[in-house]
């Protein structure tokens, strides 16, 4: 049963920025999404928690529009997206994603990676202007001076930051984060959390973060959602979420923290 916790906040809650309705998706015999419903409001950061393999990343790929659902739909600002991975789709220019493994293009240096979107879609931009935007994005993530480095020369945390710069440079309205802190040490994870918050402020973007990292969830999330068995079973503000009496959530939280 979906928990319908009411909450007050300064976010605009009139119309959802992202609406996911009755979404079903399977791979072969494996049914991953089972009629998932979710609404995400403009300017908020929604964190989706849940165990591995329940389909959190699949949900992000559906919102991104690079996979087609079996049934149901995703709406962005009231406009239904088809989910077809085709270019020229204005929807995909409005949504950016930070992938779990960073997905930096191996064959390009950091500068070219960061400038990639601008070179593809903003061809009229002057070279100096493009360089300024790339430099600004890299400076924002603390990677100034790394333009000539190849992704293979960067650490895991630096690659995540470089991938974030690649998003910041084209200012998407919606940013999806797939496990942004997974595999990083706590200090670097903290830096990434700060960057997620800074990016949200800089771009005024609506963000959806999929993570197992409870600390990260509490750090960046305005609302938290719990994904279980192909559905979102709870959505609530951070404060309300912590009060939910569901053994699955209790167990998830208990196992997330180190016991002394």
């Amino acid at each position: 049963m979906v928990t319908q916790e009411k909450e007050e906040s300064d976010l605009h809650r009139n119309k959802p920025m992202i609406k996911v309705h009755d979404l079903w998706k399977s791979y072969g015999n494996l049914q991953v999404l089972k009629g998932l419903d979710l609404e995400i409001y403009e300017g908020e950061t929604l964190v989706i928690l849940g165990r591995s393999g329940v389909g959190k990343s699949v949900l992000l790929r559906q919102i991104l529009g690079i996979e087609k659902p079996d049934k149901g739909y995703v709406e962005i600002s009231g406009q239904r997206i088809t989910g077809m991975p085709d270019t020229g789709d204005e929807h995909q220019k409005r949504v950016g994603m930070l992938f779990q493994g960073s997905a930096m293009f191996d064959s390009m240096n950091v500068g070219d990676n960061t400038a990639f979107y601008l070179k593809q879609h903003e061809k009229k931009l002057k070279r100096d202007e493009r360089k300024n935007r790339v430099d600004h994005a890299l400076k924002m993530v603390g990677l100034e001076g790394t333009q000539q480095k190849m992704p293979s020369e960067l650490s895991g945390g630096m690659r995540k930051r470089a991938a974030l710069a690649r998003l910041i440079v084209y200012r998407p309205e919606i940013i999806l984060y797939d496990e942004p802190t997974t595999g990083l040490d706590p200090m670097t994870a903290m830096q990434i959390n700060d960057l997620i918050n800074a990016t949200k402020k800089e771009l005024n973007a609506t963000s959806v973060v999929v993570t197992h990292d409870i600390r990260s969830a509490l750090e960046v999330g305005d609302r938290l959602a719990y994904h279980e068995d192909g559905k979102i079973v709870h959505v609530a503000s951070k404060e309300e979420f912590l009060k939910i009496k569901d053994p699955a959530i209790h167990s998830f939280f208990e196992n997330a923290f180190v016991k002394w």
Binding site: L64, Q92, M97, F99
Partner: protein
């Protein structure tokens, strides 16, 4: 009824033809930038020249040595040049070039695209409203279909040269005995056959390698599996395709000859 393997085979076949038709459509409708095509032409064409040269040259030498050895005691040594050139132009040049390009370029394309797939780089392209087929496959497709015929003719030329060196310099055959029969017996249609085969093999190599790369699953092991499969499939399709092309082109030649008195 179909079992799951048969159904998967037809599913893959359908997806493959969908990729080929989409890429062909994209090449005309939304051609990739010249920079991307040029880079691929350099990678597929220019960088393959040494291996194609060695293959063509050594095959021409072997053909000449064998032809001269087999034919000289029957008084047919003067057919050596013709045999080498015909064999290189219509069969060995296209097939051996295609084999070398499959190993050098096809495997690399599959491994590169496969790695991009499993590390989500292809999804990253889609997420930035860049069509992966248009950005990654179309430039390779254009470069492959242009460069394979050129490499095929280059390989044939190297084969004829290799044969000449063995027949003339090693076996002491008069130079004109090697070259003169070529003027009468090698037709433009033979060159055309070589070019058509190179073109078709270019399509086969690039599209199969790209398809296997784009559909890779399962991390590093998956990339290895896809690459092996793509090479084996390319070799098999090239061999079967070569037979079908030979029959088709020979029949076409006969038909044209009868119709237009060539």
């Amino acid at each position: 009824m179909f079992n799951s393997k048969t159904s998967k085979f037809f599913n893959d076949l359908g997806s493959y033809f969908l990729l080929v038709s989409t890429v062909t459509w994209l090449c005309f409708k939304r051609p990739p930038s010249w920079d991307l095509i040029r880079d691929q032409m350099y990678e597929i064409g220019v960088r393959s020249l040494p291996v194609v040269a060695i293959t063509g040259f050594s095959t021409g030498m072997v053909l000449a040595a064998q032809a001269y050895f087999q034919l000289s005691d029957k008084g047919l040594a003067s057919a050596t040049g013709l045999m080498v050139t015909k064999a290189m132009l219509v069969e060995l040049g296209p097939v051996l070039t295609a084999f070398m390009i499959t190993g050098r370029v096809g495997a690399a394309i599959c491994a590169e695209l496969g790695t991009m797939r499993v590390t989500e780089q292809i999804d990253a392209l889609s997420s930035m409203a860049v069509n992966p087929l248009s950005y990654l496959v179309a430039p390779r497709f254009i470069a492959g279909t242009v460069m394979l015929p050129i490499l095929t003719i280059f390989s044939c030329a190297m084969g004829v040269l290799g044969g000449y060196i063995i027949a003339v310099d090693y076996y002491g055959m008069p130079s004109h005995s090697y070259i003169d029969p070529l003027r009468d017996q090698i037709h433009l249609y033979d060159v055309f056959m070589g070019l058509v085969k190179g073109f078709v093999f270019g399509i086969i190599i690039i599209t199969i390698s790209s398809y296997k790369g784009m559909t890779t699953r399962g991390g590093a092991a998956g990339v290895g599996r896809s690459t092996t499969n793509s090479v084996v499939i390319c070799y098999s399709v090239i061999l079967v395709g070569n037979f079908l092309l030979t029959v088709f082109l020979n029949n076409t030649y006969t038909y044209l000859k009868e119709q237009f008195w060539w």
